[in-house]
């Protein structure tokens, strides 16, 4: 079976005024269909860079990146936009809903770019809102919803085009513990019941613990790839961690 994500030797350089800066020094891992994993790392570790590459918002300087078996390094901006629209569902820390639009319209937005008719969009968006437990809130604007509800709208939006990958960036970072746990439960439910492949980028060990696999990244290198053990999760800045044998090889 083809991996949803397949990274081998990914290097990313940035040109800045202070000279070239290497954010990723050769990152390799694969994510299979139906996985529920997290990417952990302190700020400056390169995890945002990695997330941008996985999310097809950016391309790698070196290395091989296959998305769903396809090398997208030659894709132009329009093709990447189309791929993001059809195959990736983004979830952000700040929800990133459009404040002017109702929750129904927010969920339907990716379907606009997918070219669906108004009727199809609205039917699909209503169905997704019901799936995330927000039936009846179709007409509410983001400002009329609680943080947890807004994040649910964002998850519904991410699911709109039945993506291959759900990519979440600190999805519970702006929520209180209880609401955060509910949102994580929703991820877990989507993963176990519907087989949605989900990657959560986080620095919160509690969030990572809820997933089945943890990839730790530090200074542009993977320092751990394995199950969310106590040791793997507790690692903070300044600690040395053994590289998981499979990855080091």
């Amino acid at each position: 079976m083809v991996a949803v994500l397949d990274l081998a030797g990914i290097v990313k350089d940035y040109a800045s005024e202070a000279g070239a800066f290497r954010a990723l020094h050769g990152v390799s891992f694969a994510v299979q269909q139906g996985e529920f994993m997290s990417i952990m790392g302190p700020s400056g570790s390169g995890k945002s860079t990695l997330m941008n590459i996985i999310g097809c918002l950016d391309t790698a300087t070196e290395g091989r990146f296959l998305f769903d078996g396809t090398d997208i390094s030659a894709y132009d901006e329009a093709a990447l936009a189309k791929l993001r629209n059809s195959a990736i569902g983004f979830i952000f820390q700040q929800f990133n809903l459009l404040p002017r639009l109702s929750s129904l319209a927010n969920v339907a937005l990716p379907l606009v770019y997918a070219g669906l008719s108004r009727k199809e969009r609205e039917a699909r968006a209503a169905e997704l809102l019901a799936l995330v437990g927000l039936a009846g809130k179709e007409a509410s604007r983001p400002s009329q919803l609680s943080g947890g509800q807004q994040q649910r709208v964002a998850i519904a939006r991410a699911l709109a085009n039945n993506p291959r990958l759900l990519l979440a960036d600190e999805p519970t970072g702006a929520l209180d513990t209880k609401t955060g746990a509910e949102v994580l439960d929703l991820f877990r439910k989507l993963n176990s019941e519907r087989g949605v492949t989900a990657v959560i980028v986080t620095h919160d060990p509690g969030v990572a613990a809820a997933t089945n696999r943890v990839v730790r990244i530090q200074d542009g290198l993977i320092t751990y790839d394995g199950p969310p053990t106590q040791d793997a999760l507790a690692g903070g800045a300044g600690h040395e961690y053994a590289v998981h044998p499979e990855v080091a090889a």
Partner: protein
């Protein structure tokens, strides 16, 4: 996708109602100015054309006396007419001249039974109908024979016929002018307003001889007349004929080289052309000012769109992350700019047309709002929206989704 983008562009404008309407103000004023000026310009043109064609085509008017007062019809009382019937005959024989009608006129009360009406009385020869290119549509004009015999017959303008006889048929009825009875033999078709706003249909035409003998106090048959109007075959004949008449009349009136003309020749078409050129130039100038306002309005749209792109950087990032291509982002902002300019144009057309209609009530002529001017306004506005919206829309499309999301 396009339909929902139009709806979104609209909701973006509605969300910033005050800012959108202030931005549109430049377009509104510009379009209103252009529409108003074109409406007045075409109104004046139509008015002049109608007035000139109401006077007859290819018309020259020769007036007695050197004094040029107003339209040439209102010589001061006591001014002795210098033109004669023989002058008219001589002019009629010039090459290119179709007909020359000697004429005089005065205002008088006209009475028919119990009804009476103050109107303009013209006295002339049958050539008058030909020169004016205005023949009775009911009854007939009077003939050369009737003129020579000073027959007491009259041709009425539509207005006078209506005032004196109402629904009754005036043909064959009697009217009295200054105590003399005339029989109505014809009625002129309606011609509307002439130059200066007078109703051309408020007139009656009598044979020159009959009126000179009978109406103007009888007895003395004077061969002098106030005015000779004549028509020529083509517009090109107007100027050479004007020249030929001047030479002919100076010779006939025995004027020495040092003496000034004792007559004036007016070329109505030339006067109208000059007037048209002047009003055309003024409308063009005012239209240009409107055009400048449109450009300023366009810059205003560009300015506000740049602000909007900056404010909505995050929104652009979100849209790109969930699958909007650069082209889709560009189209979205271009549509907003286009909508600003087109809604502004719509309001401007309504505003300009409203003022034009009101102005038409106070001006001596009706303003003409041509569909072409509205179409041109919309086309120009669309052009301005696209031209000035392109740069901000491109700025939006050029954003990196990662940078935009971080903002």
């Amino acid at each position: 996708m396009f339909g929902s983008m139009v709806a979104e562009a609209w909701s973006a404008l509605i969300a910033n109602r005050l800012r959108s309407s202030l931005t549109m103000l430049g377009m509104i004023i510009g379009v209103a100015a252009v529409i108003l000026m074109l409406a007045i310009g075409s109104g004046v043109q139509a008015y002049i054309e109608k007035s000139i064609s109401a006077l007859g085509s290819n018309l020259l008017i020769v007036n007695s006396g050197a004094a040029r007062s107003g339209g040439g019809f209102s010589q001061g009382g006591g001014t002795a007419p210098t033109l004669t019937l023989d002058d008219a005959d001589a002019i009629a024989r010039l090459p290119g001249v179709i007909a020359a009608a000697p004429q005089s006129g005065f205002a008088s009360q006209v009475v028919a039974g119990p009804a009476n009406w103050l109107t303009q009385v013209s006295t002339s020869t049958p050539a008058w109908f030909q020169v004016q290119d205005w023949f009775p549509d009911e009854g007939r004009p009077f003939t050369e024979m009737e003129n020579r015999q000073a027959a007491r017959v009259a041709v009425l303008g539509r207005k006078v016929a209506d005032e004196l006889f109402g629904a009754n048929d005036p043909l064959g009825q009697q009217i009295r002018v200054r105590g003399i009875t005339f029989t109505v033999i014809g009625i002129l078709p309606t011609r509307g307003q002439g130059i200066g706003g007078a109703n051309r249909d408020d007139t009656i035409v009598l044979p020159l001889t009959a009126s000179q003998r009978l109406v103007q106090g009888g007895g003395t048959f004077r061969r002098s007349i106030r005015t000779i109007s004549l028509s020529v075959e083509t517009p090109e004949d107007l100027e050479p004929t004007e020249e030929a008449i001047a030479q002919l009349l100076r010779r006939r009136h025995r004027l020495g080289p040092s003496q000034v003309d004792d007559f004036t020749i007016t070329n109505i078409t030339a006067v109208g052309d000059t007037f048209k050129e002047t009003t055309g130039a003024i409308s063009l100038l005012l239209g240009a000012i409107g055009g400048i306002s449109l450009v300023v309005g366009g810059i205003g749209i560009m300015n506000i769109m740049l602000v909007s792109v900056t404010e909505r950087t995050r929104e652009i990032g979100i849209r790109m992350a969930i699958g909007a291509s650069r082209a889709a982002v560009r189209l979205q902002f271009l549509l907003e700019a286009l909508m600003l300019s087109l809604v502004g144009c719509l309001a401007g057309v309504a505003f300009g047309a409203g003022i034009a209609v009101i102005a038409g009530k106070f001006l001596p002529f009706a303003t003409v709002i041509s569909p072409a001017s509205i179409i041109v306004s919309f086309a120009i506005s669309a052009g301005i929206g696209i031209f000035f919206g392109w740069y901000p829309a491109n700025q939006a499309a050029k954003l990196s989704p990662i940078e935009a999301l971080r903002s």
